[in-house]
Symmetry: D2
Subunit: 89 residues, 4 copies
């Protein structure tokens, strides 16, 4: 079981919104919308990706660290430390 099960529906909704934002940017590029507007759309995608990341990390902490049994928790902590290193690089 993954930590994402519980909040699966919410996470999938976030990912679909992001896909919709990518489609809007594709259309904006096709129709030659001014680049400042496109950069604003991309900045908003960046914010949404950060929000998705934070939610995935929080789920991981709750399911694989906070609620986990002793042995599983050690593994959850090791994974978490890897994730933090990747994102803080």
């Amino acid at each position: 079981m993954s930590h994402t099960v519980r909040n699966k529906t919410r996470l999938i909704a976030r990912v679909r919104r992001l896909k919709g934002q990518m489609e809007a940017i594709e259309r904006a590029l096709e129709s030659e919308v001014p680049c400042a507007d496109i950069l604003n759309q991309v900045a908003s995608v960046r914010g949404a990706v950060n929000g998705l990341t934070a939610e995935l990390i929080e789920d991981h902490i709750r399911e694989h660290v906070a609620k986990a049994e002793e042995g599983a928790r050690e593994e959850g902590v090791a994974e978490l430390v890897d994730v933090i290193r990747t994102y803080m690089r």
Copy 2:
């Protein structure tokens, strides 16, 4: 005319790849792939969004600042400064 015209094809290809990455994350969430793997996929999306941003800003600099006429350049510079502020916040 937008600064994105010239590199339009390349930019659209980048955006489509990103959309494909979002679809892969959606499928991964549906099939309950371990969250550490999903976090890696999202980290790679974040890198791709940064790459897209850098390319859009570079196009803007080349088309609306470097090659622009005096008056248009002032406007291009003002837009660029706004973009830098947004992304460095």
Copy 3:
């Protein structure tokens, strides 16, 4: 007791290096070093600040989450989630 006790010496060494980097940037500004060089120095400070952040978060996870007793762990997890939200904003 803080989670930073154990790695205190190492963390303080990192912070002192960062202070030294700030002093070097101050001198570079005083002596009108080309701005591209100064921007490189500041990029390197940014990397060092991210490294310091990652180390502080890892210490927090090890001391206040992994090793903590039940009640303290809940508090450690709540603090960790706040930190993640701040840094992913």
Copy 4:
């Protein structure tokens, strides 16, 4: 002449404030302040480093791109593109 000449005083003041923030973090580590508080101080340093970066890039754009003569502008643009790539990596 560097692009930083004009705003030199303001930039140096920013760098000194950052150095002061590093000294405060060093004292906080020495006196075993709770790590959540130290992480907040480091988050605020990160914001200040981003602000310094944005100001340096803006100065560069104004002095070496907007106001520069044809040949110098080309060089200023090339440096700017390098900087954007470094910061968007």
